[in-house]
Amino acid sequence: MANETLAGGAFRLRQADPATRRAALNQAIIYTVLIIGAAFAILPFLYTVSVSLMNLTEATGGRALPSTPQWTNYTEAWHDAQFSLYFMNSVKITLISVGGAVVFCALAAYAFAQMEFPGKSFLFTLLLSTLMLPEAITWVPNFITVSWLGRISPIPWINNWPSLTIPFMASAFGIFLLRQFFQQIPRELWDSAQIDGSGHLRYLITVVLPLSTAAVMTLVLFGFVGAWNALAWPILVTTSSDWRPISYGLLVFLDEAGALLHLQMAGAIITMLPIVVLYFFTQRHFIEGIATTGLKG
């Protein structure tokens, strides 16, 4: 196939060699298709940024660009929607649930990857089978479980952090992801750790985890995105804005802001920004994490 770079192809085009001319044409077509695809992917985002900087008449009038950027829209949306509250809620929920997920998933993944015990394959199959369950089937039972647990534990669960974080502190996906990485660590390392008198737990903390930062990073990112996306469950278990996460906050704001499109879009940008920034900084971990777990299905 066409392996020349665009510049090389263009240079040889002048020599009118039919084969290279075709290659250059191929390249041009490929780039055109790819750029059109990219345009479709990011146009909605650009449109959002543009509308979020308009005033009300411009936003409802169907203009493409604001005449003068209204940066105050962002502060206005931030105050109107109580985003500082929702933002902090989401950050707290994310930190607690992702912190728990890293600890519990790492322990379980280590046991599956590096230890021998009866019932290993059975437990692993059981674990993977939970991936098939639709979230919808857990709504009613978990809602009841959570409210019931709130009655017997010292702190309430409904409309409080436990119901929003504890169910997400361990997942089949996270254990599977970490196990894939832990398995690749050569057994010789464990041998030498043993000679140094290290037990499993110390080996996991001092050797395995530092070697698997990429995997842990991926898990953290997924936890972050998951917590930022959560909607159905927070709607069910929160009764006031005290613990509502940002996606729910945005949904409430969309209804409140009604016709104020520019504020709605500013709110959407505020919601999306942390994840998008995080994504741009860690996109390699992110995409590779998805690709490796996705391929193995």
């Binding site: 990219a38 909605p44 009655r151 000679i195 499993h200 709110g267």
Partner: protein
Amino acid sequence: MPGLHYTISAKSGVGALALQNWESGFHVDSTASQPAAFRSDLRQQVRAAPSWFRGRQGRRLREMLLAYSFLAPAFIIIGLFGLFPLAFAAYESTLRGLNKIVGSYDGLGNYVKAVDNLIYIITFWIAAALIYFAVQAFVRAFQEQRQEKTKPLPWLMPGFLTAAGAALFTRFVFILLPEMLLIPSKLRGQANTQEAFRALVVETWWLPKVQIALWIAILVLAAGSVWALLINRRMPTSSRERIYFMPFFNAGICLIGSAALTWFTWTEISAAYTAALEEGVELELWSQIVTISAGFLLLLLAWRLWESASGRSSNTGVALRLVGAVGLMAGAWVLIAELPRVVAAGDEDWWNGLMATVFYVLGTVPIQLGLALILAALLFQKIRGQTLFRVLYFLPYVAPFVGTAAVFRIIFSNRPTAPLNSLLDLFGAEPLLWLSEPAGIIQMITGGNIDLGPILSGPSLALVAIMIYGTWTYVGFDTVIFLAGLGAIPNELYEVADIDGAGGWAQFRHVTLPLLSPTIYFLSLYAVIGTFKAFNHIFVLRQAAALGTTDTASIVIFQAFKRDTRYGYASALAILLLLIIMVITLVNNRIASRRVFYG
């Protein structure tokens, strides 16, 4: 792999072979590569260790307990919030009531409400399928026995016992659950304090029937696993004896499940007959079950025949088979045409939700995968800025759904000045209602004068808008996974194809596509199941004006729970959704095992 297994008791003699074999022979040996000095060093270490640590059994036990304690937190959470809900939902789905956690017992009532008499046919076929799976597990085990000369039979009893233990444990859950759920209502009239609640919890836990059920389950479970462990220990470690525990365990679970389901359905059907007798209505349950089942059997046969046709070489054979298959299908159609009458009294919202989901799958998955494949194939050429393209394509998938859905709500707004409507205006077309349009698109294209019925008029324009959003979100995700799949194809294959004179398209068709088939398979399954689970963006994008035409299965369940507070009914719908997803997965696996090429 071993190394850690060097902590071997002195009596077994430290030949490399003994080392290799000591732990059940599973491990690939790497001792040969270790220098002898290193090994003797290790032996020194081992001798210095305390005796309980040196003992082979002690070491194994220690590792086992440590492994279980590592697993415990994750399994408690997943068990409580991921597995237990399945049993809980099954229990809850048999109860009826508004805003009541423990409603009155209603058997299959909720299911009948959702899908009418079809539920009896479904339970009948699940019971039959479970027996089929059990038989299949047996047959496979014994086929393997003949080929590999191993003995599966000793595993029969421990497998079945453990399965019975698991079933008894489920029974314990079903006994404990209602008692625990009734505690709040018992508290009525008393001081509603946490102490009183906790006291009642403790009291419920120590109820004789709860304790008896628990201990029976524990004893049977323990008997089964100890038996299995004993057999495992007695097995000669040198021979690579296969462990037949799982097949028999699965078979046991299937048989017990089938029996329980048959009994349950039977009592339900008899109850339905008695009720019908009292009311003097004629109940055609059995004839319906027979007709529909026969229809699906014919369909299955037709599919089998169709499949076998593809393997034939003679043209007449193929033709005969195809004609037969078509004939059978026609017969099946006649019988299945009875279906609408069987499900007539079902819940319209639920059927519409399923129909919307099917439309959604058909309208998004092929387009999404096709576009992604094209983009991935192009990106895989040596392209400048490949990373940049990849990052941009992936952005819609990463950005929070509620945020992007809010954007699309405005893009697809019904205002005349909204982006898409101004685009239409450019071409001189009338503005559309988009997300607020309940009419089917085929209906709209044909002018809306003829009533096409719910299926033929196609998805509503509102649903189409949501499909466009769904495709926009997932194309980048699919592209990234396709790219990884393309990267896994060895380059030599293309070089060989080049030498053979295969052109670009031929290479794509005969090298890329077959080797990419596992990825295509994974992505399509993921996309279909994802659609059945889809909730967030549809919940944000749905408008009251679309009259529920955009509500997919998950939304209907959510509304039954949150808006109508019919807990039992929502659970029943969720169980039905799970069944659909399981059937899709099974059928997909079947097809994949034949069609997918794992290079």
